[in-house]
């Protein structure tokens, strides 16, 4: 944190606020990663209401079966009396759940009802109230790092996502493609000079330094890979690299994972969605492993733009819905719980008779987490998420 800035603020702030700022954990070592599942993942398969007969009736081909009390360790894992974790996730995430470092927030999402992937993703990434005049170039993670003052943000993606666009300079880097620079230092310097006075100048300098930093941190692993050492694939590989880089270099990060738009043959305990969930779970477990001691001060939040239809569609898949289920995990998370408001799921409690209602707004939820992690409260919180009071679910 920028010490001078905080001392300056302290001089004009009442004592109560002053102490709450200092009560926040040390920001530089407090790590936050947002994982965005693009495509609207079917949360009712990942965290399934297996005790609910309406669920079983309306998903004849794709429901997740209730945990088998006679075969613990096989199939879905009971989270509480109502909810169970998908078998493909139980494999990798059971240890983290049991260590009480993982919580789920069902009925989470936003109030955008367009059921459009792209509209809703944008809404979430902007983090600004619907209906008002939105600044379409200002994402909420960008505003967060602006309020934090000092931070090391990064998007692990090919493009800078909307959530990180805005006033503060945030780099992006594709973890799958980190290599040694093709340019020598003289060329690098001349190129930077060529961009002097151009609006792209900060991006160019940032790009050079982030690449060098990331390459240095990953060099050993990548050299091993180049020698043909077997390594993880897909998201698991990406997550390992993200873990390594977050442990050493970055503290506010974003990564997105696609492939969740399961309109057809999504499968149940096995099948397409099970594979995607399995890869996600293994990736998150690998990330916690790779972060080492830094995991203790890390919070990961997994979100998606919307949930899917409660009922199975005509092709053993699900169509676009509304409420989702978010995940909060990390070494400093008070997990092992299903958090936030819930309602019993019945035909009459479904949103528009079709999908889950949203009872925990994503802005309130994330705002609550940011206030705890980074002491971003009051007016500063309101600048990150305008007109959304932080919701403290006591998860961090």
């Amino acid at each position: 944190m920028n010490r001078r800035k905080i001392l300056g603020l302290a001089a004009v702030m009442p004592f109560a606020t002053y102490s709450s700022v200092w009560a926040a954990p040390e920001a530089a070592n407090t790590k936050f990663l947002l994982v965005f599942l693009r495509g609207g993942y079917d949360c009712l398969s990942a965290v399934a209401p297996t005790a609910n007969t309406f669920y079983a009736e309306t998903r004849p081909n794709i429901r997740i079966a209730a945990p088998d009390v006679n075969n613990p360790g096989q199939g879905a894992m009971a989270l509480d009396a109502d909810w169970s974790l998908h078998p493909a996730l139980a494999e990798s995430l059971a240890p983290i759940w049991r260590a009480r470092q993982l919580a789920f927030v069902p009925f989470a999402g936003c109030d955008d009802m367009s059921r459009s992937h792209f509209e809703t993703q944008d809404t979430i990434e902007l983090g600004q109230p619907l209906g008002g005049d939105r600044d379409l170039r200002s994402g909420f993670l960008n505003r967060l790092v602006t309020e934090m003052g000092t931070s090391k943000p990064v998007a692990f993606s090919q493009q800078l996502p909307l959530v990180f666009q805005g006033a503060a300079q945030a780099p992006n880097i594709a973890v799958s493609a980190i290599g040694r620079s093709a340019l020598n230092p003289r060329q690098t310097q001349i190129i930077e000079q060529m961009y002097a006075g151009s609006s792209l100048a900060p991006a160019v300098s940032e790009g050079f330094s982030v690449r060098d930093e990331a390459y240095a941190s990953l060099a050993a692993e990548m050299i091993a890979a180049n020698r043909g050492a077997p390594g993880p694939q897909g998201f698991e590989l990406a997550a390992r690299r993200v873990g390594r880089l977050m442990a050493t270099d970055f503290n506010v990060a974003f990564i997105d994972v696609g492939g969740w738009d399961t309109h057809v043959n999504q499968g149940a305990a096995t099948g397409y969605l099970a594979q995607r969930l399995g890869e996600l779970g293994r990736g998150l477990a690998a990330l916690s492993d790779e972060m080492g001691p830094a995991w203790r001060s890390t919070t990961v939040v997994v979100i998606s733009e919307f949930g899917r239809t409660f009922r199975e569609n005509g092709s053993r898949g699900t169509d676009h819905g509304h409420g989702s289920c978010y995940w909060v995990l990390g070494g400093c998370v008070n997990g092992g719980v299903i958090a936030g408001r819930q309602v019993p799921i019945r035909p009459d409690t479904l949103n528009q008779g079709r999908d889950l209602p949203v009872l925990s707004d994503y802005r309130a939820l994330l705002g609550g987490i940011f206030s705890k992690l980074y002491g971003v409260t009051g007016d500063r919180a309101a600048r990150v998420f305008p007109s959304a009071a932080p919701l403290d679910l006591q998860l961090v």
Binding site: N172, Q187, M194, G207, N313
Partner: protein, 582 residues
């Protein structure tokens, strides 16, 4: 001038590499003093000399007076070598470069050329000059039936045999291979068969990508090629869903390309009837009693009226019902139908409208009752969607975004939408409204940041003009690394059209890497099974001197002046902020 049949031309093609290596070594031998930067620059300026058809090498020496004095001695020493080299070059000239006269383009014409094409090339600059900008633009908007390509490029496309097989045959062939694979029980053999099957799918899509890139690089009808990319992106399908790799080349060729500058309504129905779209957005699965609303939603949200186009969830569901039965049938024999339904069956290649899968019920769609019926319900819905003012506005806005790199200022979109409505969606005329607008002219003066496609293709076009690359794989890889791989966007929205999406630090870093490979001549674009032909990117060509150099920013000029070799100069030029703009 010496003809292409002249034996030395052949000599030049085959011996070019050896000749160049000799010359390069000879010249490098004189590079005694590191501060003398002119000599290596000369080394790579020989192709320029061809481009200008000037035997006076001093033309280029004189462009950089600051270093001139230092060169005099070295120049004298080089005379013998240059003399011999020039003789050889005369032979190489017909094959290695088109012998041309100087091109003089105004700044405005150069900007127009860069915007309407995938990037300015010397040949297209000459064509614009020959016809004049107005006639040239008119020709681009109304090209003939087929593109003119250099013979080399057309020969390469003709050799892509997987693309000439009729799609139903290709798909049946692959299906047989897949079934044979399922019968294998031995795990090792099964894995080998799986890999071979995947490879055969990849071979088909690789050929489609090669064709697309060759056309983008060399087709004379550049605007059509840009529009093919635009519509492929607008009606995006993703190669890795199911067997879309088999279908996507045909989608581009038969659904998109014939209508790229035609009528929107025709284009819309062509995409609806193509198996690539029906597979990708799951409508092949949508049947009466088994509703799948994926395509119905995206058809409105992304293809026609846009997300704010005034439809509701009920409209999505109504359209899904209307679209039931619109699907794919790989069976060469028509399905057995009840006699009453026979007349409702439509088959066209792999496309099939199967009345037994269709919900014939009347639907209320966008406030209108669509009477009970078969495929005529689909046609009616497409008519309604194509003629909604929201569609005219949304398509116009997307076109303006694409050609102007961001949300357009002023009322240009309204004017385009008015043309769209007046002409029943005549795409060329909507574009003409855009290109004739004040806003477009202003944006030519301002410039637009290139997306990865424009960056990669414009670099190769400027560097090699009509000299046809032997290998498009490097371009394919660059596009993928920059995040805009062909056929590689997994969600139906397509790649972003706004420039701001392509300005992240990671993006620029990868561009610099590409600049290094391309500028250094080591990109592999002329790699063949017989070995590598020399690459020699010729970025400092007549177009550079007449149209580009006078507009360079001062820091860019200062950077270029620090180049220690032609390769180095190329890298700086391709990395410069100026070359990031179109």
């Amino acid at each position: 001038m010496l003809g292409e049949n002249w034996p030395w031309a052949r000599f030049a093609e085959t011996k070019w590499a050896a000749l160049w290596a000799w010359f390069d070594r000879s010249v490098r031998g004189y590079r005694a003093k590191p501060r003398d930067r002119a000599i290596p620059a000369l080394a790579w300026e020989i192709p320029n000399f061809l481009g200008h058809k000037k035997v006076d090498l001093d033309v280029h020496f004189d462009r950089r007076p600051r270093a001139r004095a230092a060169r005099v001695t070295a120049r004298a020493k080089m005379k013998v070598h240059i003399g011999f080299f020039c003789v050889a070059l005369l032979a190489a000239a017909p094959a290695a470069a088109r012998v041309q006269t100087q091109i003089e383009l105004s700044a405005h014409d150069y900007a127009l050329l860069s915007r309407i094409t995938w990037g300015a090339s010397e040949s297209d600059a000459r064509e614009l000059k020959r016809l004049g900008p107005a006639a040239w633009l008119d020709h681009q908007l109304h090209p003939g039936a087929s593109d003119r390509l250099p013979r080399d490029a057309q020969d390469q496309i003709n050799a892509l045999t997987l693309l000439s097989e009729p799609l139903p045959d290709l798909v049946r062939h692959e299906r047989q291979q897949a079934q044979a694979r399922n019968a294998i029980t031995d795990p090792t053999q099964r894995a080998a068969a799986d890999a071979a099957y995947q490879q055969s799918l990849n071979d088909v899509v690789n050929q489609a990508r090669t064709r697309a890139i060759l056309r983008d690089l060399y087709a004379s009808d550049q605007l059509r090629e840009q529009m093919v990319w635009f519509w492929m992106n607008h009606f995006n399908v993703f190669q890795y869903k199911d067997d879309v790799r088999l279908l996507i080349g045909d989608f581009e060729e038969r659904a998109i390309r014939p209508h790229a500058l035609g009528r929107f309504r025709d284009l819309l129905e062509a995409t609806l009837r193509h198996p690539a779209m029906l597979r990708y957005l799951d409508n092949a699965q949508n049947a009466a009693g088994h509703i799948n609303e994926n395509y119905a939603r995206e058809l409105m949200e992304l293809h026609t009226v846009g997300v704010n186009g005034g439809y509701t969830q009920a409209d999505v569901q109504a359209l899904a019902h209307i679209l039931t039965g619109v699907g794919i049938d790989e069976n060469p024999n028509p399905p057995a139908l009840r006699p009453g339904l026979q007349s409702q069956l439509i088959r066209d290649g792999l496309f099939e409208f199967n009345p037994t899968r269709h919900d014939f019920g009347a639907q209320t769609f966008l406030g209108v009752t669509i009477a009970s019926g078969g495929y005529d319900q689909v046609r009616r819905a497409l008519d309604m969607l194509a003629r909604r003012p929201a569609t005219a506005h949304f398509i116009s806005q997307q076109l303006a975004m694409y050609f102007m790199g961001g949300a357009p200022a002023g009322d240009v979109v309204e004017h385009m939408a008015a043309t769209f409505e007046r002409t029943d969606g005549d795409i060329a005329r909507v574009l003409a409204t855009l290109f004739n607008s004040r806003e477009f002219t202003a944006s030519l003066d301002r410039g637009v940041v290139k997306d990865p496609m424009h960056y990669a293709i414009s670099a190769v076009r400027l560097a090699y003009n009509d000299r046809v690359v032997r290998n498009t794989a490097p371009v394919q890889n660059w596009l993928t690394r920059m995040g805009e791989g062909l056929y590689n966007h997994d969600t139906p929205d397509g790649y972003p059209l706004s420039s701001t999406a392509w300005l992240g630090p990671g993006q620029l870093d990868i561009r610099f890497e590409i600049a290094s490979a391309l500028g250094g001549g080591s990109a592999g674009l002329f790699h063949t099974t017989a070995g590598d032909e020399p690459a020699f990117p010729n970025l400092r060509n007549s177009l550079f001197y007449t149209a580009i150099e006078p507009t360079l920013r001062q820091p860019t000029q200062a950077g270029l002046a620090q180049a220690t070799s032609q390769q180095d100069w190329n890298v700086f030029f391709l990395c410069s902020p100026d070359f990031m703009m179109r």
